[in-house]
Point group: C2
Chain length 319, copies 2
């Protein structure tokens, strides 16, 4: 049953996910310091900001200043997030510093789309058709589909596997109409419903239908099962994960307070390295960045690995 990858790609989203939910304002210089520190750990993909309305997300009013301010490091891809034409336009101003690629974002739960985007399934498909056209017209490649609420939904409850497959199919239809080829599929546990067996079922069904798609799991540690879910993904051969250093962040749209962040980067790196799966990341350097993130937000972050530390020091002293 096990199909462990030999190498895992980490998509660090701490700078983007982490600061949008923090109650206090985070200084632009601190956001830049975190990005620069992450760049030095061996991580090769960092999402640095959201180009969203400052009215809706005041924490990202300084997105431009952050992107202009960090020090790009060779070999590291820097990305951003946006949801509409205005956001795309803001991202395009930084094509020299950001890897600007488009994504077809859908939800496996229609109720989730309705509550958060005020769009039903068909309305969402229409919106993504238009967004894909806009991306392509701007010369932005669209190679990825993202499926939110792929493992369950606070509004709709359990999500059947068939519904996830339909949603991917919807996305592939949008891509085919636009004449683009999808290479990447992200499955997001937006509200923390995943369990290891749900990961196995969904990933297994998606992989057997579309073996050519490279899968990324976006997991939240809402109920303490995040790393167990990542491990289930690894066992199914998933080799790409969205994570946040320290477990920063959370989904501000979830229907309960205190939604915790994504799985912590250092916990996933520790798991992988201890299992002999390469990540290219220096775990001890990453843990130092986690402590920097704690100083920036001014409170402890949920990651246990930040407190437990790596096993390297113990091993070296024992040898």
């Amino acid at each position: 049953m096990s199909d462990l990858p030999s190498r895992v790609d980490i998509n660090e989203e701490g700078p983007r996910e982490g600061f949008q939910i923090e109650p206090g304002p985070v200084a632009t210089a601190d956001k830049i310091a975190l990005i620069d520190a992450l760049s030095a750990t061996g991580i090769r993909h960092i999402q640095v900001c959201s180009f969203v309305s400052p009215k809706l997300v005041p924490g990202w009013a300084d997105a431009e200043a952050v992107v202009a301010g960090f020090a790009p490091r060779a070999g590291v891809d820097y990305t951003a997030l946006w949801f509409n034409a205005k956001g795309l336009e803001r991202a395009l101003a930084f094509r020299d510093r950001l890897q600007v690629t488009g994504s077809i974002a859908l939800a496996a739960s229609e109720l989730f789309s309705q509550k958060n985007l005020n769009r039903d399934r068909q309305g969402n498909i229409e919106a993504m058709r238009k967004q894909t056209e806009a991306h392509l017209a701007a010369g932005v490649p669209v190679t990825r589909i993202g499926v939110m609420a792929a493992f369950g939904c606070n509004f709709a409850g359990d999500i059947p596997v068939a519904r996830v497959l339909e949603t991917v199919h919807d996305g592939l239809g949008i891509a085919a109409e636009a004449g683009v080829t999808i290479t990447d599929l992200g499955l997001a546990d937006t509200m923390g419903w995943a369990t290891p067996d749900r990961i196995e079922r969904v990933v297994g069904a998606v992989r057997s239908r579309w073996p050519e798609l490279r899968l990324t799991l976006h997991l939240h540690d809402t109920r303490g099962l995040g790393i167990a879910n990542a491990h289930a993904g690894l066992r199914m051969g998933v080799a790409s994960f969205d994570t946040t250093v320290g477990g920063l962040g959370g989904c501000p749209f979830a229907a309960h307070k205190g939604a915790p962040g994504n799985i912590a980067t250092e916990e996933l790196v520790l798991l992988c390295e201890e299992m002999g799966i390469a990540t290219g990341v220096d775990l001890d350097a990453l843990i130092d960045v986690g402590h920097l993130a704690e100083r920036i937000v001014g409170h402890p972050l949920p990651s246990a690995a930040l407190r437990g530390g790596s096993l390297t020091g113990f091993r070296n002293r024992a040898a």
Copy 2:
């Protein structure tokens, strides 16, 4: 590969593990309130105190008052921990309220024994021979072996599987000399070195050599892998786990500060129930007890499930 149990036994150790490491004094009445609240959740095994030297562990100076004070509930076993003849004597005074059974406690790391008990492997075997004799002389059954540091050690580093097997063999030798039959084996990740693949290797090796022993895993969430490790145990057919409500506690002897507690009872119960494995525990009632534990210690506990909550309410509202 998967050999999931249909039912899992939870051994709740929060009252015992949780309060020995808290910096402030915890009122006797609060300890009793926690035990009584746990008794009402469906948990059937609760370790209520340590009979240890009040000089070494001041937090358990009130062990007698706690045992005398809780309200025993039919169908629930209450146990205690002790390490020497004096502790055994104190436990024996409560045979009407406690299930008094003996354990042969060994460590797979000789360095761990030396650092914590000032005994080498042979010295520990001698001590356990004497303790087993003392238990049997007092009419206390000895049916269990416990192996500490079974997955790694802060002093000795990685622990070979062969060393764990030798340690179990040592314990079985002590039992055979004393003429008792061992039915239960506890494997403890005392310092948080376990990973899912180490769990598979150690549990697999132990099970193939001694398939008749019922295994219990005692896991700490030192580095965020605790529930992933428990899931690996479940997949190997392990059906008994030591846990603490809220993730209370920690090992005061570990060689680093801030050693986090055991895996959180409510996270394991949530995982099991979502996977269709019965625990007999009312998860929502248990989460309420976790919040009670937080009020008692006066700070948030590490369990994410305490904040995320169960999925029951969402599912009911969605239905």
